[in-house]
Structures are given as structure tokens and as C-alpha cells.
Symmetry: C2
Subunit: 427 residues, 2 copies
């Protein structure tokens, strides 16, 4: 453990897992150098001052057990030859705020840029980062977050129960509207497009919006609140702004974007224009995260997207069809709900393989109802239909928050009971 | 090998490496389903028509030797248990163009989205993709590419010899201008900012532009052509457009962006507004590419960014400080120079650890001089100074293109000879 003094310089920090044939101290200094003042030319008289203002500092080193084999291949390591162990551990680096300013692409270039390619590293993963509150406030941050999402949806005191329009892609605008009608008749709080459906020829965005909004309004009149539909506006910057305006004008209450591919500049631009909560779809996340010694962990990822301004963010699902273990899903949701540099918590969105039976485990893990619980089959394949599927989800959350076993609570509740009977083997 | 008939449906294809406990045919169908029509609700009478228009097709399966251990962890595989081998191979999937349209974020969501997280997969990497020319033409594509870059730089018949402003970050605007002056006096064709330097407090963008442009104009007057300076405009969408306009108005000839973090929507927006070549910096590329069974290979990556409109793209360097083997660097540069769906070749940018000695290997590998060859130490640490460093690079390319051994060509050329003496151990 090593701590330096940053003096009066405002700094943000990034924490990494690293692995290298070089000792941790050396490789940490390599990263700190590469990601700040880097290679030096001789500039007589200037070097000390330049280092003082621009050079990143290694602020912590926590060794782990070394490895006998490298986690990732490196041509540099192979060329040099290496016959010892590969050192592993966590390091923390403090960067001067003034190097970057309120510039998201450059913040990413600093904490998640060329360092991934450094030949000295056979493992490098951004685990987390921290920003001084005064610095974080210079980024947009979520405009709606949990509280604004709840206000727009008119749902309080329980999770938002939702589902995804399926088939993923292929429904016409009219088929989409008919499905939306069926789902809302069943009591769904929240609907979203699939990430693959943005502006397909078989269901162009404009037609989809025109077809679904009357259905939403009809149910809003019945409910006294507008069900939330995260309509996928992903596209060019101009398209996203225009589609947002159309959704807003039509009375919609949410927009969705494929954040990794829209990118930080595009998402921030949307956020600055946007008068609706932004549903952040993280498709492509696996490419950044699936190798434990590479890429990024979700606690860092969600902070970066909170700075950009997402209000709702996908976190996977317990025992889902996806590769992440439940512990990672829970960690992701906790991160969304945790304070971060003065920014409001954002709504974690659980989906994939979800049903009523997951409510107790989620509540036990999070101690919160501030989440979206999206079920596909768990709602639409309920033996008594969509309404019973939704009821089973709500009842499960009632039981979970009251600390009652699902089976007991289900005794007098046929919807939950039928869900337990049909899906019970999936817990 | 398996080929289906796509009939009249226009399709684009994506080729993947995959690994799975499931047989290749099964896992390929899983991916094709997940990334198109996906989960089906019962929609009587509609299913066949919907599949016909929206369902992706598996068009090729090429098995490789199976693995005994999984390349990536999957909670789903662990939960199910698996005692056999892990099947490996390449697959190709054909997607209907009409599912996506001219929508880059959704194209990415389709070929590089949730599939990375599928629990059935213990390896998944996008290797390449192909688009029908008529489809590719609906995206912006590079406006300048190789030919437009050469025209703006006024350099023909040889590679552009360049360097990077170093220290990476920390120089004041005035220090930057002084360094630019020194480098241009030495005959540099091309300069770029470090990706870490966009709008730092110690050298704000506006001050940097104001300081360097008079220097560039002074050398332009001397040379009869404007040296190209890729000034880093990365930031918000509005900042990038404004900075581009400022560069253009000041007579600059290139802008640079951190493409992964600006993102596809932001970069496309810049491209549509942009009247200068876009220098695409790929920092963060390692996170997407370093594990061979995950993420993306460069042939796919560069096509996606060519669609968005980059004109120049980083490809690493031979025997560099980075982790990629030389073969990957050469493959990347070849991909940039190869035709793609009617779009012009883009300029590959070589940097890191480069010097004159790399010219013959690069020319042998590429058979082209359409590239930027960026050297740091290889130019500024030349024993006879910057001008001799630049001369050594040009002389090395003269020798390479003439098919003459460097040592022979250096006999009457002191700059090249001194480079070989100083850096010769680095080849």
C-alpha cells in the first residue's frame, strides 16, 4: 500500500486490475505515465513544472497472488522473453482534473484508452473510478434518475413491472400496437422496444410511434397515469433528437438508446436536449466485460454513463440466459443505486429469464424497490395470461418486501401460485 | 459448410469465431435468432411471414478443433454443467438489410450487441462483415480517404512522415507552438495531438489553435503546401462542430477524434458537418480486441468506422510498445487499404516505436505507400536532430520502394546511416 500527496491539485482516480511480468510498482508507473505526460522530450527548465501539473500519480498498490501463465497474450512480452511469474494486483491512479476537463471522450481516452494495448500488461481491467463532486457536476448527469422515472411512470412504492416487445424484430407497426394493447390491458407498468428494433422497413419509427401512442393514451385514460414505453430512438444525432421531439409531442414518457454504439458524445448530446428519461441499453457490454482480466467492470461503466446522463440502465438478470453470474448482476444493480459524486441513483433494469420467483432474492440483495423488473415468458407465458403474469410479479414483490415466503403468500393468490407451479424450477 | 438461399432479400453478413458446449449448428442458430426475430410469442398466421422477412440465416459453418476448457467463463454453462468438449469454429450469419437500415448504432446492436453475453457462448468474436454496395452507400463513408488526405497535405508519391506532439499532455499552448515550429522546420509532413490532449486547462483548445496556426501558415508559405496537423477536437457534439469550424476557418487541414468514445452517432454527425479529413484515433481498441475469443477483429472494426466516415485510422506499429503482434498490425493496415463495398480506402496510421528501419518491412507487407508513418523517438532522438530524423524516414522509404537494402542506400546518406547506427537494434 502506497499513498502519495496530491497537494492542491484536484484529481480523479481510477482503479485497475493489472497483470504484468514487470513488478506492480513499475507497471503502475508505466500506466500513469502513458496516460498522462507520457514520453518526455527534453524541455530544459520546463520538465518539473510540467510533471507537477500533468503527471498522474500512483496512489495505491495492492498485490494479489501472481500467475504462472499470462492472462492475455502480448507480443512485447513474447519478444522480450519472460521466465518468471506474472505479477497481479489492484492499482489506483490519480489524474489531474485539469488534464481532461468536462470532456467525456477524453475522460475515457484517459482512463480506458491506450493502456489496454500496453505490451507490458497481460491483464488490465478498469474496476472503478471516482470523481470529486465539483468535477462530476460539470457533466450532465441523469436528469430524471429514479425519482423522475417514477414520477413520469406514476408508479410508487414498488418496482416497475415491465416487459419487452417480442419478437425482437419483425412485427409491423400495427402488430406492435396490438401487442402493446394486450400487455397494457394486463397491467404492465413499463414496456420497451427490443434493441434491434429502431427504424426497420417493416415497422418504421414514425409508423410505430403513430400506432402505439393512441393505445398508450387509451390506457392512460383508464389508469390515470401514462404507462411508460421506452421507444428505441437509436440512430444518427439528428434522428435521435427528432424522434425524441416526436415522442415528447405525442405524449410519450421515455426514450431508449443503444448507449455503447450511440457513444458518449451522442448520448450526452441527446441528454442535453432531452425532456424524457433515457433508457440506457447496454448491448455490446459483454465485449467489454466478459474476460475478467480485460475491459471494464460495471461499477466503472455505470458511473461513466451516469455522467453522460442515462436515467435507467440494464444490469442483466438473475439466472438469466446470459453469461454473467448472479453476483455480477447484483453488484451492477447496487452500483446503479449507490451515491456517486453527488449524482442521483439511476434505475437498474433487470431482464432475461426473469419471473416472480426472483423478487425475494433481488430484494434481499438490494434492499430496494427502485428497479425495473422485466419479464418476458414470466409474464406472457403465465398459464392464466398476461394479467395474471403481471399480478404474480407484483404479488411476489409484496411478499418480498413484507419478508414473507412466496409459497405462504401464494396460498391465497392464484396468480402467484400458478407462477410458482409453472416457473418454480427456474429459481 | 452450409449455404442457404436468401432469395430476394438484401442481406449483410457477419462472420464470427464462436466457442460453445453446444454444437456449432445449434449455437449459430441461437445467435441468428437472438440477433433477429428472437423469442417468439404465438402470433397465429403471422409467424411464417415474420420469419421470412426478419429472421437472420446461418450461411456458413466451418468447424475448428474443439477445446477441452472454455475460453471464457459462463454462469449458464456452469449452472447446466458440461462434461464434453467446447466446439469451436467460424460461422457466418446473414441479416436482412431491412431490419436495420442506414442506422449505425442499430447495425452495431445487431452484429455486436447482446450476442457477446449469450450464456451458451464461451467465445465470440466478430471477425469481419460485408455489406452490399447499395447498402453501404447509405452510410456517409470517408469524404477524403487516401486521395483527399494526400490532396490536403500536398504529399504525393511517398508515405506521409509524421510525429506526435509529446509530452502526451502538459505542454502549454506556447510550448506546443514552439515544438510544432521545430518539427515543421525539420520537414515533418504530418503532426497530431496526443489523444489525451483535447481541451486541458494548461492548453485550452482555443489557445492551442491560436498558437499553432500562425506557425503552420509560416511553414506553409515556405513549403508551398500546408503541413497537416490533426488537432484533437474530441468533446461534446457541439464542441466538436465548433472546433472543426474554427480549424477550418484558421486554415487547418485535419481534425482528430477518439472514435470509440465519441461513438458512432457522434462521429457520423461530425462527418456530415465536416469539411476536413477525420483522423480516427482508436484508443480503447485493446479492450475490444486483446482476447482472441472475444470482441472484434480489426477488419470488422475498420469497416464500421469507414461507414461512419473516418479518413485516417490508427493501426499500431511494427515491434511497438503495444501488445499486438506484427501480423495483426499488417492485417489491420491491409484492411484499411482494401476495397470495401464501394468505399474508398482509408489511410492507415502507423505509430509507436517506429523509425526508418521499419519501412522495408511495411512496404513488403503492404505493397503501398498510402500510409502515415509516425515516429516519435525515431525522429526527435535522431543524433543529428529532427531534420535528419525526417530525412532518414524518407530515405528509408526511397530504398524500400526501389527494392534496395537500407544499408546500401545509407552508404551515401548520413541521416539514414546515423539512424541505422542508433536504432538498428530496434528492428
Amino acid at each position: 500500500m502506497l499513498r502519495n500527496d496530491g497537494g492542491q491539485r484536484a484529481e480523479f482516480t481510477a482503479r485497475y486490475f493489472v497483470e504484468s511480468p514487470d513488478p506492480l510498482q513499475k507497471v503502475a508507473e508505466t500506466i500513469a505515465g502513458e496516460q498522462s505526460s507520457g514520453t518526455f522530450l527534453e524541455l530544459p527548465g520546463e520538465t518539473a513544472e510540467l510533471k507537477q501539473r500533468a503527471r498522474a500519480r500512483v496512489t495505491r498498490i495492492e498485490p494479489q497472488a501472481p500467475a504462472l501463465e499470462p492472462g492475455l497474450h502480448s507480443a512485447l512480452v513474447e519478444r522480450r522473453g519472460h521466465h518468471g511469474v506474472f505479477h497481479r494486483g489492484e492499482i489506483e491512479i490519480a489524474f489531474p482534473v485539469d488534464n481532461v476537463g468536462a470532456n467525456l471522450p477524453t475522460l475515457l481516452a484517459t482512463v480506458a484508452g491506450n493502456l489496454y494495448e500496453l505490451g507490458e500488461l497481460t491483464g488490465v481491467r478498469l474496476l472503478d473510478l471516482d470523481l470529486p463532486e465539483a468535477y462530476a457536476k460539470r457533466f450532465p448527469g441523469p436528469r430524471f434518475a429514479v425519482a423522475g422515472t417514477r414520477a413520469k411512470a406514476g408508479v410508487h412504492g414498488r418496482p416497475l413491472i415491465g416487459t419487452i416487445i417480442k419478437p425482437s424484430i419483425g412485427l409491423s407497426a400495427e402488430q406492435t400496437a396490438a401487442l402493446v394493447d394486450t400487455l397494457l390491458a394486463g397491467g404492465i407498468d413499463f414496456l420497451k422496444d427490443d434493441e434491434l428494433t429502431a427504424d426497420p422497413v417493416h415497422a418504421p419509427f414514425d409508423q410505430r410511434l403513430s400506432a402505439v401512442m393512441p393505445v398508450l393514451h387509451r390506457h392512460a385514460d383508464r389508469l390515470g397515469r401514462m404507462p411508460m414505453y421506452a421507444i428505441n430512438i437509436s440512430g444518427t444525432v439528428d434522428e435521435m433528437l427528432r424522434r425524441h421531439d416526436d415522442v415528447l409531442r405525442a405524449g410519450g414518457t421515455c426514450v431508449m438508446a443503444s448507449i455503447n454504439w450511440v457513444g458518449f458524445a451522442g448520448l450526452q448530446h441527446l441528454r442535453e436536449h432531452c425532456e424524457l428519461p433515457i433508457h440506457g441499453h447496454r448491448n455490446g457490454w459483454g465485449a467489454l466485460s466478459r474476460h475478467p482480466g480485460l475491459g471494464m467492470s460495471f461499477p466503472a461503466y455505470q458511473k461513466l454513463w451516469r455522467l453522460a446522463g442515462v436515467d435507467q440502465l440494464h444490469v442483466g438478470g438473475l439466472r438469466s440466459k446470459f453469461s454473467e453470474p448472479d453476483a455480477a448482476v447484483v453488484e451492477a444493480a447496487r452500483a446503479c443505486l449507490a451515491p456517486f459524486a453527488g449524482s442521483a441513483p439511476v434505475m437498474p433494469v433487470f431482464s432475461s429469464g426473469q419471473w416472480a420467483g426472483h423478487a425475494p432474492a433481488l430484494y434481499a440483495a438490494l434492499g430496494s424497490i427502485d428497479l425495473m423488473h422485466l419479464a418476458g415468458g414470466g409474464i406472457v407465458s403465465h398459464p392464466a395470461g398476461v394479467a395474471a403474469g403481471v399480478a404474480s410479479m407484483r404479488e411476489a414483490w409484496e411478499a418480498a418486501t413484507a419478508g414473507l415466503p412466496l409459497a405462504d403468500y401464494a396460498a391465497q393468490r392464484p396468480a402467484l401460485r400458478a407462477a410458482l407451479e409453472k416457473f418454480g424450477s427456474m429459481v
